[in-house]
């Protein structure tokens, strides 16, 4: 249990493998060449992971709430598309209100209001990828787990759907799939009776891509409120941003050392 009670500072990384990182950045990418009319050569050069993830990296997000726009849902919509959440169908028997409450969501737009001043802050809230995740602590089957690279996820092969983790998560980050699912994406398996939550686009991580769907969408919408990156790499843009701007964890008092940080709250 030793590592469990010693929060590691995300700033304690060495520059040792930045060379490897740079190489992996180059190795990633997908190209398609047209060699003749109607004949397209698909040559996928992205390098799928062939060795297990290590704790040399710790993935995280930095969200600048000052740039997050009231009423914008670009990140939520992109997450829905990326992870097939838009393929869920409302059961005929459920009311719209009940469905809105029960359908799986990985990002929620949350509004914070300061009761003294009335100031309202918007922020996207997803799984915070806690270093000491309560969801993992309570899971009776070991289905909730933290990957070596800091991503907290559910192994659906072992999840029994007891939903202890949903009760334990302080961020209401987890969803339950209540009904049999017909439409699944190859990259995001999904089935009745399992819990799921944001996995930092784990399929993108494993194919060497360098962003998440929400980050891309936010940038395309012109807001650039979210930065994704390696909290252990001193050269990463997320670390540079963290060094420059004040940021906080939500519910810092719980000492979970979240991988998702917010500025402006």
């Amino acid at each position: 249990m030793k590592d469990h009670h010693e929060p590691t500072d995300p700033t304690d990384a060495g520059p040792a493998d930045s060379g490897r990182r740079a190489f992996m950045g180059v190795a990633a990418g997908i190209t398609a060449a047209v060699v003749a009319p109607g004949v397209v050569l698909h040559s996928v050069t992205a390098a799928p992971r062939s060795e297990a993830v290590t704790s040399d990296v710790r993935w995280g997000l930095l969200i600048d709430t000052a740039k997050c726009v009231d009423g914008c849902s670009a990140c939520v919509d992109a997450c829905d598309r990326e992870n097939g959440l838009n393929l869920q169908n409302k059961p005929a028997s459920a009311s719209q209100e009940h469905w809105d409450d029960q359908k799986a969501v990985w990002i929620r737009k949350v509004q914070l209001q300061d009761n003294q001043t009335g100031r309202v802050t918007n922020l996207p809230l997803m799984c915070q990828h806690c270093e000491h995740p309560p969801c993992v602590d309570v899971c009776p089957t070991g289905a909730s787990f933290k990957r070596a690279d800091g991503i907290v996820m559910v192994d659906r092969h072992t999840c029994i759907g007891c939903r202890y983790c949903m009760m334990a998560c302080p961020y209401k980050a987890r969803s339950f799939i209540h009904k049999a699912v017909e439409d699944q994406l190859t990259r995001v398996p999904r089935g009745k009776g399992c819990v799921e939550s944001c996995n930092l686009c784990v399929h993108r991580r494993d194919f060497g891509e360098d962003s998440t769907a929400c980050v891309d969408a936010c940038r395309e919408a012109g807001h650039e409120a979210i930065v994704f990156g390696d909290l252990k790499d001193p050269e990463s843009s997320i670390r540079k941003h963290l060094a420059e701007m004040a940021s906080r964890q939500i519910r810092e008092d719980l000492s979970l050392n979240t991988g998702v940080r917010y500025s402006g709250i």
Binding site: S43, R49, S50, D155, Q184, T186, H203, D206
Partner: protein, 157 residues
């Protein structure tokens, strides 16, 4: 004596059926590998056929833990890879769910009365951009070049 003869006869009939079933299944399996795909030209699947028949579930089970917990996506024992090769498209080039009772996985599982629940959660037809990546990784792992690959929807034939 007569009893023994009957028993021997039954055993012989049984064995013959198993043989026929194997041959029929093998012939069927051939047609289920996507026509024109690199896989169709391969001698056998990612492992010799007899190993695949007996052990595919163990291979996939081992692989799933490596993928989910270790993020390893380059294994040749990938479910997405199974689907990519063995999927069949109908006359209108629409890929048919692979676990349906008349398709590659479903037919054999129905014949052997073994529950097949992979596709309760996993896509039973290649779907989404991730499908392309996942299957490419699987092809790479078996050393088959997939630079030109017929797509399951038959679009680039």
């Amino acid at each position: 004596m007569a009893k023994a003869a009957v028993r021997a006869g039954l055993v012989a009939v049984g064995l013959a059926w198993v043989l026929v079933a194997q041959v029929v299944l093998a012939a069927d399996a051939k047609t289920y590998v996507l026509e024109g795909s690199k896989a169709a030209a391969l001698e056998s699947c990612v492992e010799p056929t007899d190993v695949m028949r007996r052990k595919h579930m163990e291979l996939i089970k081992h692989q799933r833990d490596e993928t989910v917990h270790g993020g390893i996506r380059s294994s040749k024992h990938s479910l997405a890879g199974c689907v990519e090769c063995h999927i069949r498209s109908d006359a209108d080039h629409v890929p048919q769910p692979i676990h349906r009772k008349d398709e590659f996985c479903g037919a054999c599982h129905a014949f052997t009365a073994v529950n097949l629940n992979c596709f309760d959660c996993h896509a039973s037809v290649p779907k989404g951009p991730g499908a392309e990546q996942a299957s490419h990784a699987a092809f790479q792992a078996v050393g088959a070049d997939r630079s030109v690959q017929a797509r399951p929807d038959g679009e680039d034939h």
